[in-house]
Symmetry: C2
């Protein structure tokens, strides 16, 4: 049917053209201008409508396909998938997640030290023997309710940090300000039973269910920057994600 979306492309903007197209189509989908299931014009026409070359148009659509918003079929066309799926799991901190949702997280630093890393940490962060790391545990609450108990180890040769900073903002915000560009993280999500140490801090019963996460984050130079072991109250937190088939 040829859904001709009228996007405005600003060629003087520093934002790459293909990205402007991505944003435009994304907005059109989320606002309902492009309905789920509807077919888009073919690449060539779309490119012509926006006065772009086909490769540029394709690059934009590529991103949207990867994001799971569009589906392309050779010989057929491109259509909007967009069930109300969430954004694929991104590399963000819990603090960011909560802040973005309008909640006001508070952080209580339970312990903080700058010590020589133990063997496990040396391995996890791939540091030479004798390296020092920041080691701290934090309790995160939202609306006064405990949500997460977090233990982290951070290499100390990137940026310095102290207890006061950690109680004011998220770890990732501090590291990013220190010049760290996160590239990837590997994490493992599981479950466990609250023990005598965790339960009172999280204001939960001993024996109640906790979600566990272990994560190691890598920056764009390949350095392992941070590793941590977090536990969350299962009744208040779960991991949502969208998987895209490639």
């Amino acid at each position: 049917m040829a859904n001709q979306l009228s996007l405005s492309i600003d060629r003087s903007s520093p934002v790459p053209l293909y990205h402007q197209v991505v944003q435009g189509i994304e907005a059109a989908i989320h606002s309902g201008i492009l309905e789920p299931g509807s077919r888009l014009d073919n690449e060539i026409d779309l490119a012509a409508q926006l006065n772009l070359s086909r490769p540029t148009m394709r690059k934009a659509m590529d991103e949207l396909v990867r994001a799971g918003l569009l589906v392309r079929k050779r010989g057929v066309g491109t259509q909007v998938v967009a069930s109300q799926v969430r954004r694929p799991l991104e590399l963000s901190s819990l603090y960011d997640d909560l802040s973005n949702n309008g909640k006001k997280p508070t952080t209580e630093v339970l312990s903080f030290s700058h010590v020589e890393a133990d063997a496990l940490t040396l391995t996890a962060l791939q540091l030479p023997a004798g390296s020092k790391v920041y080691h701290f545990t934090r309790l995160r609450k939202v609306g006064g309710k405990p949500l997460a108990l977090m233990e982290n180890w951070v290499r100390d040769d990137i940026t310095s940090m102290d207890e006061a900073q950690l109680s004011k903002e998220g770890l990732y915000a501090i590291l990013r300000r220190g010049g760290v560009n996160f590239r990837l993280a590997s994490q493992r999500i599981g479950a466990m039973i609250a023990n005598d140490y965790q339960a009172p801090l999280l204001e939960a019963e001993v024996g109640s269910a906790l979600v566990t996460m272990e994560r190691t984050a890598v920056d764009d130079t390949g350095r392992m920057v941070e590793t941590g072991h977090h536990v969350y109250r299962a009744d208040s937190y779960s991991f949502e994600m969208t998987l895209v088939q490639r």
Copy 2:
């Protein structure tokens, strides 16, 4: 430095050139020929060495960057990141995961019915009122040990299935054979305590920790194909994934 990798590109192969390059570099990294941290030649030289155009070379490297194996910096070059990170979480079934790891999973179908969907399922699968679905629960064991208890609802207008099939192979294999091309899935991972029903089936104590997963899968036409609620023994299973910053 200039690490000149000698890949062989087969122009008569049906495999796209850029993908051959992806596979080649991937293999070189995993086999250690390309060491973590080492720099690659620049795109233009690499393209010349392999007799490819720069866009083709770039497309290959794009994929590797997205996969988290390479890092590019404008004005600097491209280097291998590749800490021993795992492949990003993919849209696969537990059965596939286990089979690929050399395990031999067995499936016991605890219940199977073809019934009218209840309100919750209608919503989850976005089906019109009165639609029928397959509803079944399965117990998956590995090496005789119970691992997962799975309850699923599958729309019936795609392919038919029965108890015998489900006990022989994974749900996703059946659906794929029925012509379903999965595109994306949204899932939520959390934790809970084993109850009186789950514990004996999983041969675990009542009150032990379970990992829970709820998933809804969408095919390439935007149809919600399947939704399910699974629980896993926390001592035998966890979700590993790699997040890539984009």
